[in-house]
Amino acid sequence: MKPYLKGIIPWCASLGLAAAADPVAAHHSTTMFDHARSVKIAGVVKEVHWTNPHVAIFVLGTVKDGDEPTMWLMEMTSPGNLVRAGGWSRTAVKPGDKVTVDFSPLRDGKKGGALKKITLVATGQFYTADIRAQERANLE
């Protein structure tokens, strides 16, 4: 088994039942993320979920060099909004890409956050995910 899967399977299994009983929201506030803080990780993209209502990226990464890599979940807005606000595409970031990610961390201490900026190490190309950036003048 790949090392990162050891991490994924237990939390999927343990949380699956609990989550099934909860209502899920498609259009929600984001204050579960601490927008006053910013965390940076470096790692490798494992999965890209280019889906409505929210795009998500799983990154196997570390906060500090030398740490044991762990899986992090990055949440974003919808594909349509990412295209308009951040110049994304379905293939902008792909599994296997080495990246750094700046994000607002979850307040509950779990390994996840609201992505602010993801940078491809190979090229320096980066993408942001600020939904309000669509209001910039002369975006077209």
Binding site: D22, H49, S78, V83, K110
Partner: protein
Amino acid sequence: MRHRLRAMLLASLALAALVRAAEPAKEKPVINPPPAAKDWADLARLPDWSGVWNPKITDQDAQAKTNMPPWTPKAAALVAHQLAEEKAGRPPPLFVNCLPEAMPGWMLVTHNAMEILFTPGRVTLLGESDGNRLRRIYTDGRPHPDDPDPTFHGHSIGHWEGDTLVVDTVGIRPQAFIAISEAAGVPNNGDMRVIERMHLAGKDILHVDLEVIAPKVLTQPWKTTRIFFRQRARKFDIVEGVCLEGYHVEKTDKDGNEIFVYTPHNVGGNRIAPE
């Protein structure tokens, strides 16, 4: 005595029948007649609302603080609680399980784009989310049904006053939120009416002036203007937005078929983050 009662009953029934016969037969109006060439040509006189319209979210943010609906005390208490929870990092989910933001929530707090289509006798709003986020606004002169089935977007009839589309909407589900943000809002609880005036306020700015009349939760009608803008160079098309898609992951099954498998989510609607 019994005979007299029966005679009176028969007489009153006969009278009722006579009254009914005297009423003009109430005919159901013809709806969706086949459009004539003139109906298509008339569309050319309408203002240009084509393109992809995005909500001005920063104005939604501002109005959540500056333009509070005139809530009843009970509704105000709920909103105060929701705002406190959101501030504490526990945002209450309003729009759960991919149910639509509905009316007037869609117009008030959406973060997603929409497009507007004109066809004879009708204006159609299509939203880039929920898979079935659409409003049909009938402009063919029909009235509301007497007793419409309650729906998420209600029954809308509209007419043009110059370049302004005036829309009247009733028959909205009582569960539909009057929302001031994605975390704060109150179900309208029934008998709501929404009146909108949609018009261009600039070359690429659309204003939706709303009046929300909801006697169960508002002490008086509430007015607000919501702003939508378009990027006219049209580098961006509206895209499909099936809400439930993200609650699944793509897998290939043992027979080689590409399938969706449910993936767990937390109460906030996000995928579950690793511990």
